[in-house]
C-alpha cells in the first residue's frame, strides 16, 4: 500500500496563510474574557497547550479563526484572541467548511465535544472528514454531557449511570478515532489533556496537515465524570496502558518497552504481545501514510472502552486533495475559460426585440 499521488502540488496545511516575523507568545493568544470553566476542568490544560503552541506556527493572528458548536468546550473561541464564532449545536464543521472554502488565507480550527461532534453533529463531522476540508477539528472527549449537567454521551461506556439513565445507559459507544477513520479522514490523532508534550506534537502535526485533521483529546470533567481517564494518568498504570505511536518506529510500550504491537499472521489482526516472546523483528513499524485506512483502523481497535490499552499519537496522515482547494480550483478554471460577462449571461441565446412605435 502506498499513498496515491494525484499529481497536485503537495501543499502544507498552512500554505496560503500569511505569516509574521513578529515574535508571539502564549499571552498574545489570550483574549480579555474571563475563562469560565469549572475549576480543575481539563479544558484549561488544552486551552493553555493551544495558546502556547500557536506562536510556533508564526502565523498572523488575525488569520486564525476558531469555530465551535455548543457545549463546555465550545466556549473555547471566546478565550482566544483570534477571530472566532461560537455557533450552534453540532454545526461547527458545516460553518467552518463555508469559511474555509471561501478563505484560503485562514487557518480554521473547529472546537467541539463528544456530544457536539458525535451526537447532534455526527453527520457534519463524517461528511467534513470524507470531503477532506482543510479544518483542524479538536474533539474534546469527556464522555459526558457537561453543560447540560451530566447526562451520558455517545462516548460514555455502556451501562453508564447518570441522571438520564438511572438504570444505566443502553447504547454502545462510539470510538471517535475509529469513526473518523471509517469516514476516511486523512489525519487522525489522539492525545490526553494532561500530556502537554504529546498534545502539542499532535496539534503541530495536525496544523501542518493539509486537509481535515481530527484530534481526539481525552479531557477530564471533574464535575460530572471525574477520573474518566485517570488510569491513563497514574504513574505505573499509564505506561502499561498507553500505546504511543511514532511514524517509522516499531510500536512498543510498557515501563521498559516490554510490550509491543504485532500482526497476527493467522488472522491478519493487530494485537498486543510481549516483545520478549515475539521478538523485536515482529513488531509493527508504524506508518501514518498508508492509503488504506484499515491499518490505522485496526490500531484504533486496540483500545477498548475500559482503557486497558489506549493508542495515542498520529494514527494516520495521508495526502488527498482537499475539498476547499478543489472547489477554488473549479472556480479558477471557470474564470480562466469564460469571461464573467453579466450582460451576455442575462441576454442568453434567444432574444427578441420590441421596437417603439
Amino acid at each position: 500500500m502506498t499513498t496515491i499521488d494525484l499529481g497536485l502540488p503537495s501543499l502544507g496545511g498552512l500554505d496560503g496563510v500569511p505569516t509574521t516575523e513578529d515574535k508571539q507568545t502564549a499571552k498574545d493568544y489570550k483574549s480579555d474574557q474571563e475563562v469560565r470553566w469549572c475549576p480543575g476542568c481539563g479544558d484549561y490544560a488544552v486551552l493553555a497547550a493551544v495558546q502556547s503552541f500557536l506562536p510556533q506556527l508564526g502565523l498572523k493572528r488575525e488569520n486564525i479563526t476558531f469555530v465551535s458548536g455548543i457545549g463546555c468546550s465550545s466556549r473555547f473561541p471566546y478565550y482566544m484572541n483570534t477571530y472566532g464564532m461560537h455557533s450552534i449545536h453540532g454545526r461547527a464543521p458545516a460553518i467552518a467548511t463555508g469559511l474555509a472554502v471561501s478563505r484560503p488565507d485562514l487557518s480554521v480550527w473547529v472546537v467541539t465535544g463528544d456530544g457536539d461532534a458525535l451526537s447532534i453533529g455526527g453527520n457534519h463531522l463524517i461528511h467534513t472528514l470524507r470531503r477532506n476540508v482543510n479544518l483542524k477539528i479538536l474533539l474534546f472527549n469527556n464522555r459526558i454531557y457537561g453543560l447540560t449537567k451530566g447526562q451520558y454521551s455517545p462516548t460514555s461506556e455502556e451501562g453508564k449511570v447518570t441522571k438520564s439513565t438511572p438504570m444505566g445507559s443502553l447504547d454502545h459507544p462510539f470510538n471517535p478515532v475509529s469513526l473518523a477513520l471509517g469516514a476516511e479522514a486523512t489525519f487522525v490523532g489522539r492525545a490526553l489533556d494532561s500530556d502537554r508534550k504529546g498534545l502539542t506534537e499532535v496539534l503541530q502535526a495536525a496544523a501542518e496537515h493539509r486537509g481535515s485533521a481530527l484530534v481526539e483529546i481525552y479531557q477530564n470533567c471533574p464535575i460530572f465524570n471525574d477520573g474518566a481517564f485517570e488510569v491513563l494518568k497514574e504513574p505505573g498504570e499509564r505506561e502499561q496502558r498507553i500505546i504511543p505511536l511514532r511514524h517509522g518506529q516499531p510500536i512498543r510500550f510498557g515501563p521498559a518497552g516490554e510490550h509491543g504491537v504485532v500482526r497476527n499472521p493467522a488472522t491478519g489482526m493487530l494485537e498486543v504481545a510481549e516483545v520478549a516472546t515475539v521478538g523485536e523483528q515482529a513488531l509493527v513499524v508504524h506508518d501514518t501514510t498508508l492509503d488504506d485506512p484499515s491499518y490505522s483502523f485496526a490500531l484504533s481497535r486496540l483500545g477498548g472502552q475500559d482503557l486497558t490499552h489506549t493508542v495515542t499519537g498520529v494514527f494516520r496522515s495521508v495526502s488527498r486533495p482537499t475539498y476547499d482547494d478543489l472547489a477554488r480550483e473549479q472556480v479558477h478554471l471557470a474564470q480562466q475559460s469564460r469571461r464573467a460577462d453579466l450582460r451576455s449571461l442575462l441576454r442568453g441565446k434567444d432574444t427578441w426585440t420590441v421596437a417603439g412605435d
Partner: protein
C-alpha cells in the same frame, strides 16, 4: 378561444383566423415529454414576440406508473398580442396524448374548445386503467368539443421508417409530432425548435434527426390533411420597447444572485441541499462559477445554510436555497444569523405543505414560518417576488437588504413562478443597483481604548460593522449567546437583553422599502385587494376583468412582507373593504389585521394550483357589489 379579431383565408384555402390570445395545454404521461414540448412551444411564442405565461404541472414521482391518472404531466401556455398576467384559467386547446391525460384534463376544457387526441393510446387496456368503460372517442361524450383524432404514434413511426430507428425510439418522438402540428396551426416559427433539437441531441445525431423529422411530419400533417380547416394567428404583443427573453422564476433568481455578486464585488457561496422545487437554482448557479460563485452541495439542509453563514462570516455573500421543509431545518441557523447579524440570503421556494406535502405543487403557506418560525424574538427581512421575471429584481433587493442591514433575508418564491416562465425585459446592466459594501478596517471603540467593538451600530441603519477574519487588530468573537450592546461580549444582563431584543427588531423595522403602489385606474374604488408574491398575475387579471364589467376595484401587491411598506397602513385605511386572497388559510390577512387593526377579509384556496382569474373575478364582484349596497 378568445374573440376573433379578424379573419382571412390562406392561399391554400385554409381559413386563417386572427386571435388576441390563446391558451394551450399539452397533457400526457410523465414519460411523454410534455414539459419539453410546452417549453419549446413557449420559446416559439417568445421568438414570435407574443406575451406569454406558462404553468407546468407534473407529478412528484419521476416516473409514476405509465398511463395512470397520477402519472399525468401537463404544461399550459397562454400567449397573446397584449400583456397578459397569468397562464390562463382554462385551455382553449387541449392536446391529450393518452386516455389518462384526457380524463385528468377534459373537465377544464370549455364547451366548444379544441381537443386534439393521440388515438394510438386509446386501447382497451389503457382505457380500463383509468376507469373508462367505453372509449370516449367512440361515444358522444366529447360532442361539446371540436375533436381532432390523430394517430400520432403511428404517423410518427411512419415518418421515421426510413431512419432505421427502432419502433420504440421512433414512437418516443411523437411529442415533437404534436408540437409540429400545433406549430402549424398557430403559424409559429420553426427554425428555433429545429436548432434546439439538434443542439439537445448533439451527441446522438440520429435521435436529433428523428425528432426534427417528427416535428416536420406534424407540421406537414396539418398542412396536407383536410381535417384542420382553420389555422390561427396571434400577433406579437405590444410590450414596452426593449430586448426580451423568456425566463423561469428559478433561473431569474439564480441570475439575480449572480448579479448581486457582481454588483457587490463579493464572492458568492451557495451552500445548499437538493429539494423540489428549488434545485434548479443550484443547477443554474453551478454553471456560473466564472462569476466567482462557489456552489456547495452539502450533506443536509443544515450544513448548506451553515456553510453559507460561515462564508458570510468570512466576507462572502452567503446564500442558501430550499423549500418549506428545508426552511424548518435551517431555522436554528437563521436564528444564529439573526444573533450574529451577518448578511445571509435564504431563497425559499414554497410548495404544498405541511411536512413533505405536495413537492411539485404551489402554495404560499410559509409566510408565517418565515416571519416567526424560530425561537425567541428573531426578526428577519422577508421579500416575495411577484412573477417569474420579478425573481431577478427580488434577489437583488434581498442582497441589498442583507448587505446593508447585516441580516438574514428570506425570499419567498413558490412553485408556480419558480417553474413558470414569462418574457423578461432584459435589464440594463449599467442601471443595476450598486451593492458595494465596506468592511470594517479600524478599531472603533468610542472610549478611545483602541479596541474593536463588533456590535457598535451604524446610527442610521442600526447595522453592525462587518469585520472579516484577516483584518489586523479587529479580532473578535461572535456567536449565539446574547451580546452586550456595543462590545459584543457575552452578556446575561437583563436590561442589556431587553435592549438587544428591541434593537434587533428596530433594525428590521427600520429597513427602507419602497411604498406599495395601488393600481386603481378609476381612482374611485372602494374595495382594495391585497396580495403578495406569485398571486400578482391572477389577482391583476381578475381586477382587469372586474373593471371591464364596469366596476371599480383597487389592487395593492406586497413584495416586502417584513417590514411592510411605510404607506401600507394608510392605504388599507382608505378603502371600505380589504380583501386578501392567499394560497394558504389567511396568513397575510392575520398579519395585516394584527398590525393595522383592519378588518381584512380572507379569500383562501390551498389546492396546489395558482388562483384562476375567473374564480377571483367572481369573488371580487361579490365584494364590490357588497360595498355598493
Amino acid at each position: 378561444m378568445s374573440t376573433d379579431v379578424g379573419n382571412g383565408a390562406s392561399p391554400e384555402g385554409t381559413e386563417v383566423r386572427k386571435l388576441d390570445r390563446v391558451v394551450i395545454r399539452f397533457a400526457g404521461d410523465s414519460g411523454d415529454g410534455m414539459q419539453l414540448t410546452g417549453d419549446r412551444f413557449t420559446s416559439e411564442a417568445a421568438a414570435f414576440g407574443n406575451d406569454l405565461a406558462t404553468l407546468p404541472n407534473f407529478p412528484a414521482e419521476i416516473r409514476a406508473p405509465q398511463g395512470t391518472l397520477p402519472g399525468v404531466s401537463s404544461f399550459q401556455l397562454h400567449f397573446a398580442d397584449y400583456d397578459i398576467l397569468t397562464p390562463g384559467d382554462r385551455p382553449d386547446v387541449l392536446v391529450a396524448m393518452n386516455p389518462a391525460a384526457l380524463k385528468a384534463n377534459i373537465a377544464d376544457l370549455p364547451k366548444g374548445g379544441t381537443l386534439i387526441v393521440n388515438t394510438d393510446e386509446f386501447t382497451k387496456r389503457n382505457l380500463t386503467k383509468v376507469g373508462y368503460d367505453e372509449d370516449p372517442l367512440e361515444n358522444d361524450s366529447l360532442a361539446a368539443f371540436n375533436v381532432h383524432k390523430v394517430a400520432m404514434a403511428t404517423l410518427t413511426k411512419g415518418a421515421l421508417e426510413a431512419t432505421g430507428l427502432s419502433k420504440k425510439d421512433a414512437e418516443r418522438a411523437k411529442n415533437m409530432f404534436a408540437l409540429g402540428l400545433l406549430s402549424w396551426m398557430y403559424h409559429r416559427p420553426t427554425e428555433g425548435t429545429e436548432r434546439f433539437l439538434r443542439e439537445k441531441f448533439a451527441r446522438q445525431p440520429d435521435i436529433a434527426e428523428a425528432n426534427v423529422l417528427a416535428f416536420r411530419a406534424g407540421w406537414n400533417y396539418g398542412e396536407t390533411t383536410e381535417s384542420f380547416a382553420v389555422t390561427y394567428q396571434v400577433a406579437p404583443a405590444k410590450l414596452a420597447t426593449g430586448t426580451y427573453r423568456q425566463i423561469t422564476g428559478n433561473t431569474a433568481l439564480a441570475y439575480g444572485i449572480v448579479a448581486a455578486g457582481q454588483q457587490s464585488g463579493l464572492p458568492v457561496v451557495l451552500g445548499t441541499y437538493p429539494i423540489t422545487p428549488a434545485s434548479d437554482v443550484l443547477h443554474e448557479l453551478a454553471k456560473h462559477k466564472n462569476f466567482g460563485i462557489t456552489t456547495l452541495q452539502a450533506e443536509d439542509e443544515i450544513a448548506g445554510i451553515g456553510a453559507a453563514l460561515g462564508a458570510s462570516f468570512g466576507g462572502a455573500l452567503g446564500v442558501t436555497s430550499t423549500s418549506g421543509p428545508g426552511v424548518a431545518l435551517k431555522s436554528e441557523t437563521i436564528g444564529l444569523a439573526v444573533m450574529t447579524e451577518l448578511p445571509l440570503i435564504v431563497l425559499a421556494i414554497q410548495r404544498g405543505g405541511p411536512s413533505t406535502g405536495l413537492p411539485t405543487k404551489t402554495e404560499q403557506a410559509d409566510l408565517l414560518q418565515a416571519m416567526f418560525g424560530r425561537n425567541g424574538e428573531s426578526p428577519v427581512a422577508i421579500i416575495a417576488p411577484m412573477s417569474p421575471a420579478d425573481c431577478f429584481d427580488a434577489a437583488l433587493e434581498a442582497a441589498r437588504i442583507a448587505l446593508t442591514y447585516r441580516t438574514p433575508v428570506i425570499l419567498l418564491s413558490d412553485g408556480a413562478i419558480a417553474n413558470g416562465s414569462e418574457p423578461w425585459l432584459i435589464p440594463d446592466v449599467d442601471a443595476l443597483p450598486d451593492l458595494s459594501v465596506e468592511f470594517a478596517s479600524e478599531p472603533n471603540a468610542p472610549d478611545g481604548s483602541g479596541e474593536f467593538w463588533p456590535y457598535l451600530r451604524d446610527p442610521e441603519t442600526l447595522a453592525r460593522p462587518w469585520a472579516v477574519p484577516g483584518t489586523p487588530g479587529l479580532q473578535h468573537r461572535i456567536g449565539g449567546l446574547e451580546k452586550a450592546d456595543g462590545t459584543g461580549n457575552i452578556s446575561y444582563d437583563p436590561d442589556n437583553h431587553d435592549k438587544m431584543v428591541r434593537l434587533r427588531q428596530a433594525k428590521i423595522d427600520g429597513i427602507t422599502v419602497p411604498d406599495v403602489v395601488v393600481d386603481d385606474p378609476s381612482g374611485k374604488a372602494r374595495v382594495l385587494v391585497v396580495g403578495w408574491g406569485s398571486s400578482f398575475g391572477p389577482i391583476g387579471a381578475a381586477c382587469r376583468r372586474v373593471r371591464r364589467l364596469g366596476m371599480t376595484v383597487a389592487h395593492a401587491h406586497l413584495r416586502h412582507l417584513n417590514p411592510f411598506p411605510d404607506n401600507l397602513g394608510e392605504v388599507l385605511a382608505s378603502y371600505d373593504r380589504v380583501v386578501v386572497p392567499e394560497m394558504n388559510l389567511g396568513q397575510l390577512a392575520l398579519l395585516l389585521r394584527a398590525k393595522y387593526l383592519v378588518d381584512a377579509v380572507s379569500y383562501t384556496k390551498v389546492a396546489g394550483l395558482p388562483f384562476k382569474a375567473e374564480e377571483l373575478q367572481n369573488v371580487l364582484i361579490d365584494f364590490v357589489q357588497g360595498v355598493a349596497q
